[in-house]
Symmetry: C2
Subunit: 352 residues, 2 copies
């Protein structure tokens, strides 16, 4: 790309023209963000002032994620694409140019450069589509892209975890409506992953078993919160769901990450993912803002404790009503859920 960022096409056919160059006059890449250590909660926080200027709800005809045309150059030089991945222009984490080091003002135990990577994944060139409207074949290509990028980003020197996700809906702050997701390669272990691994380690110590495998088995046995059960994957509302609509999707086989999935697992995942998303969108007579988050094993440690799973959840609690995180959730980390997991599961089973 014109400012040196990398772009990778995932094509479903061999005849695409990928020789096109990015002709835009872009400023050199942004300052590298930093991360700071929050000693009060034992967590790292990403700091990136420059993101304040990021593109905010542009009109459709200025969408930077559409293919380029002869009239207008976008982030994607090509005139069409299937799935394309490129480095985020306003990254929360970015690889430091050689020889530079950030955070020199403070002790490195408190501040370091945010030495990871942030990528954008466009699911389709069709601006008005959505993930749930993709074909299973296209979802398969997206899974290929996630898997390929997970392998590549895992090899970067300071990356601790690779997070593939989709934020959907202006109600959760999505600033571009074109169907897309993101990949964060974190230079630290995020808090939720740390908590999960600590819980999994304690469970292993008590039972000699894997925590997530036990949770999956319990849901499969009780069936009351299962939404979709396939040959390779089971989707269920967790027993202690914290969001009004929340579904977890686990492969039946304990694997650490997306690159570890077999072809059969990938094929069924595309079907079950679409089924779950379409059910979630059908529950309320209203748009569904949602977050779809892939929990993969950390890159370097505890890979045998982790268990790949997808968490999809919405902040919609009824038509016209959203769940907000207020004092209890945001300050204390104590979630309150107004929808019982069993009734959510029933709504999802009955949906479509």
């Amino acid at each position: 790309m014109a400012d040196g960022r990398e772009i990778v096409y995932f094509d479903e056919s061999d005849d695409a023209d990928r020789a096109l160059r990015d002709t835009r006059d872009l400023p050199a890449s942004m300052p590298v963000p930093t991360i700071r250590y929050d000693a009060r909660l034992d967590e790292w926080v990403g700091m990136s002032d420059h993101r304040q200027d990021r593109t905010y709800l542009p009109p459709d005809e200025q969408c930077p994620l559409c293919p380029s045309t002869s009239q207008r150059a976008t982030e994607i030089p090509a005139t069409s694409y299937d799935v394309v991945v490129f480095e985020n222009r306003f990254p929360a984490f970015a690889v430091l140019p050689a020889g530079q080091e950030h955070g020199e003002e403070h002790d490195r135990s408190r501040e370091r450069s945010g030495d990871g990577r942030c990528e954008v994944v466009c699911f389709t060139a069709d601006h008005d589509s959505s993930f749930s409207a993709l074909t299973p074949r296209r979802v398969g290509t997206v899974i290929e892209a996630w898997s390929d990028r997970t392998s590549t980003l895992s090899a970067l020197p300071h990356v601790e975890q690779v997070f593939c996700f989709e934020n959907r809906g202006k109600e959760i702050g999505v600033t571009l409506s074109h169907p897309h997701g993101q990949i964060y390669a974190y230079p630290f272990l995020p808090a939720a992953t740390k908590q999960m691994l600590t819980a999994a380690r304690a469970h292993r110590g008590r039972t000699w078993r894997n925590l997530f495998a036990d949770l999956l088995a319990a849901e499969q046995e009780s069936e009351e919160r299962v939404v979709v059960r396939g040959e390779e994957w089971t989707a269920f509302v967790p027993f202690a769901a914290r969001w009004p609509l929340e579904v977890h999707l686990y492969p039946h086989r304990q694997v650490p990450d997306l690159p570890s999935l077999t072809d059969a697992e990938r094929a069924e995942l595309a079907e079950v993912y679409l089924d779950v998303l379409r059910r979630m969108e059908a529950v309320f007579d209203d748009t569904l803002p949602y977050i779809a988050a892939w929990h993969q094993a950390p890159v370097r440690i505890d890979r045998d404790l982790a268990y790949l799973h997808l968490q999809v959840f919405s902040i919609r609690r009824a038509a016209g009503r959203l769940k907000y995180l207020a004092g209890s959730e945001s300050a204390m980390g104590a979630f309150l859920n107004d929808v019982s997991p069993e009734s959510a599961a029933k709504m999802l089973r009955d949906a479509r």
Copy 2:
């Protein structure tokens, strides 16, 4: 109250008539909520289906937090009040009637009754006021009310922590605009408290010192993030702030909770609290949705590790712009802050 809930007046003068009765015909109290154990993250989650029906953005003339009049009976039977506290009609936690037990369907290690308490604190009878518009004297009365309720609720058999807080602004889901806060008496230790105490214990093991006292001392020494420094309290933007505007307010003396404050500490708190809130509201040319959260020591354990402090933060990141929690924050617990703590502190020092 008509359905058996308790109401407590905190009067600034002795001549108020508190003999008035609640004459409304209210349904008997709500079903008792439950709490469920999330084994994946080692956290408890509050479950309360009945809260879906709670009062939602009523027009001003139907506000349930205004005093009663001869035409209309509200939640407060009195025709005027200074500060009043009463049990929430739609509680996330409530004391179980004697002889009842909830969550019988599931193992008690996974589900129990939500045996705590939720209270509403009205700061003023003036519907159109706000906390930041109160007089220091009135803030003093609110502090008295918080302190008194903390002592009372701490004595309930299953309460692990008492949380006094204010959610302000429809942007964070506040459904009643009348100036009010809430008190949650949790029947479990919230996740953030657990994390803080774990961090404080590790710090003590490494240094023989209190974590929070060390954080306060470091901020006082560097001064670059200090907003207000008094005789008894210091307010600062934390080094790794996770919200665009976030201020922490610590007493200079390590105390576990609000009841432990001296008269001098209470008096200065009222002044500094108002100063901080007014500065925060002056930064952006727009309304300020905010959360003000009191972190008190747990009721029964680790009281010597904890350090009372107030956390005030806003989701406003610029006029017309909000910070949303999306995938990284909500699914991974990895916060990204677009405003540097040093520039936030400077904006706050320059405000008013």
